[in-house]
């Protein structure tokens, strides 16, 4: 089991450019979560899919951020017109999501730097 795979590990973009982050959850896991980690805010919840359907996107900034899960093997987080304040480590996690507090398994994260 390779665990949750996130690519790329590091991404540097110029202000105003688009950034797409990829996540491959653990096979068989039906829930996928996206979190953002910054020094100031700590670990912030962004969005959550269950069986590929978006369940809760209450943590997503209303503009420029979008997340999709086109199939059970990957999810993407897209940031349009990136800004320096978007710089952070973006973490993806998956779980079995059987209705209880299943353990979340996190990927290694993508460090996004917006110049």
């Amino acid at each position: 089991n390779a665990g949750v795979i996130q690519t790329p590990r590091h991404k540097v973009t110029g202000k105003g450019q688009e950034a797409t982050l990829w996540c491959e959850p653990i096979s068989g896991h039906s829930a996928v979560f996206w979190y953002r980690q910054t020094i100031v805010q700590g670990l912030e919840f962004l969005t959550y899919f269950r069986n590929q359907a978006p369940i809760d996107d209450s943590g997503m900034p209303k503009e420029r951020f979008s997340a999709q899960m086109p199939n059970q093997s990957h999810s993407t987080l897209k940031i349009q017109s990136t800004q320096p304040q978007d710089s952070a480590v973006y973490l993806c996690a998956s779980s079995l999501d059987l209705g209880g507090a299943e353990t979340l398994y996190f990927g290694s994260g993508t460090r996004l730097t917006v110049l």
Binding site: Q37, R50, I55, D97, A101, Y105, F106, S108, R111
Partner: protein
């Protein structure tokens, strides 16, 4: 409002010492779970301890244990006999069931630990 509060943001210790990291949380739910994670330099978040409110107050996993005070809504992580490899960032997290939307983990801001040989 912050649901999970970790007071210490950074701390340093010597090898062999014992460390307690405090965490308090806010919830109105009856069913919830608490977790302690370690964020590795590689970027991975590793689960250390899982605490359910219905179980005994202390759970152990190797050198990691917790002191759970349900009435005070407090869960402290205790790391005994610190080793340099314990260096990293430790996160406390609260899982609550969400009506109609499944579940969600809320994290504290983390505590960075440096252990010197």
């Amino acid at each position: 409002a912050q649901k999970v509060i970790q007071v210490w943001s950074t701390t340093s210790r010597q090898e062999g010492e014992k460390l307690t990291l405090d965490c308090s949380y806010k919830t109105s739910q009856v069913l919830y779970h608490l977790f302690w994670y370690k964020h590795l330099l590689s970027g991975e978040m590793v689960l250390l301890i899982r605490q359910m409110p219905s179980t005994i107050a202390i759970e152990r996993s190797g050198r990691y244990s917790v002191v759970f005070q349900k009435s005070r809504k407090s869960i402290s992580l205790v790391i005994s006999t610190l080793q340099p490899d314990d260096s990293g960032k430790y996160f406390c997290a609260l899982w609550e069931p969400q009506q109609g939307t499944g579940s969600k983990l809320s994290f504290g801001k983390g505590a960075k630990l440096t252990v010197s040989p």
